[in-house]
Symmetry: C2
Subunit: 223 residues, 2 copies
């Protein structure tokens, strides 16, 4: 048996960057980025590359799943739908929800993990302090683990791991700082690629997290 391999879904955002730092302590990294026609995919991919370099990742895979753009129906993948700004407290599933996205991402990660002989797939999903996406709930990941067990080779043993699922954003920031995660290389903004907008849900959650952790966000904002 070689070193234990962990596949990490690394979008390049704050949560997945901290998740990568957690996974890096447990074994060899296999970092996966998925472009799915999201508004900021080029900026995300730059963060992914920078973070993969930082961790000197053994395995890297960049996947194009642009069919999400064809499917649309989310403000992230359909530019005719506006990204909501400046109103974090809303009811229901936000318009930035991309239909069943996390299941698709986990499937790609699991396929690669089975090929690599990896035993873990990390995803930086957050249930407690999140935007209200159905595919960020613990019950979803529990069900997904069952699918992985049923749908792969008998000798394949892959576990979906969600180390941040119960954390608040400020705890995630603190965890990242304590592990020396390269938060300055991460990108969370849903909307812009040069300077973060500071007004979309993702920026607001991130800024609140840094504020509550009593530290400054190292990335630059427009406003």
């Amino acid at each position: 048996m070689g070193k234990r391999i962990s596949v990490v879904l690394l979008s390049g955002g704050l949560d997945s960057t901290v998740t990568t730092a957690i996974a890096a302590e447990k074994g060899e990294l296999a970092l996966l980025h998925v472009s799915y026609g999201q508004r900021t995919e080029d900026r995300e991919r730059k963060s992914f590359d920078d973070i993969a370099d930082f961790f000197v990742a053994e395995n890297v895979l960049k996947v194009n799943a642009s069919y999400f753009k064809d499917i649309g129906s989310s403000a992230l993948t359909d530019t005719s739908i506006e990204v909501p700004e400046g109103e974090l407290e809303r009811e229901g599933v936000p318009i930035t929800y991309v239909p069943f996205r996390n299941a698709n991402l986990l499937c790609i990660a699991t396929s690669w993990a089975e090929k690599l002989g990896a035993t873990r797939v990390y995803i930086g999903a957050v249930e407690e302090d999140s935007s209200g996406y159905p595919d960020c709930r613990k019950s979803f990941f529990e069900a997904f683990n069952e699918v992985v067990s049923m749908g792969t080779r008998p000798e394949t043993k892959i576990e979906i791991v969600t180390p941040l699922i119960d954390m608040k954003k400020d705890e995630i920031v603190r965890k990242g700082l304590s592990l020396g995660a390269p938060l300055q290389l991460s990108w969370s903004c849903y909307k812009d690629e040069d300077l973060a907008c500071g007004r979309c849900d993702s920026c607001l959650l991130r800024l609140r997290g840094f504020k509550e952790a009593g530290t400054e966000d190292p990335i630059k904002y427009r406003s």
Copy 2:
């Protein structure tokens, strides 16, 4: 409420063609083809187009999931691995298994179904008389239904439907004939794109099905 929409995963093979004929009786069709770098993807896509025309499908989506070719590790997606021939009875998972493929296909289908407001996703998987893939088992589809329920919007109600799961190949052929399914337009060969090889697992299963159904396969074989 409009007419009930069913998304059907239509590779263009025998099983998915019969599945399409079954779904066509129940509502409006949304036909989905996924190219994943398989050897015969061009030929499959031709069958898909022909079959979609035959059924005058209301909705059609063709997706490129070529990351499977990057992942490889299957004789279908890695041309350096030979497709086994002429030996249907083997133990274990065949080398033509594409890691966790059906989960990926179902995810894409579910994302599209959620966008369309479809209530059913059909897949022509066969457990009884199949090639021994783990992601063709009933237990896998049951687990997947749970993931769909957990990972989509609360108002989304999508069921994964596997009408062929318990059928033998000859029953599938008979079912297709009884429904007038365009079996002459379908393509099952894993290996070749001009004439079916008649020797890979998929050809052998298909030929046995037609033989046991007491009728001739309308497509042409090399041998």
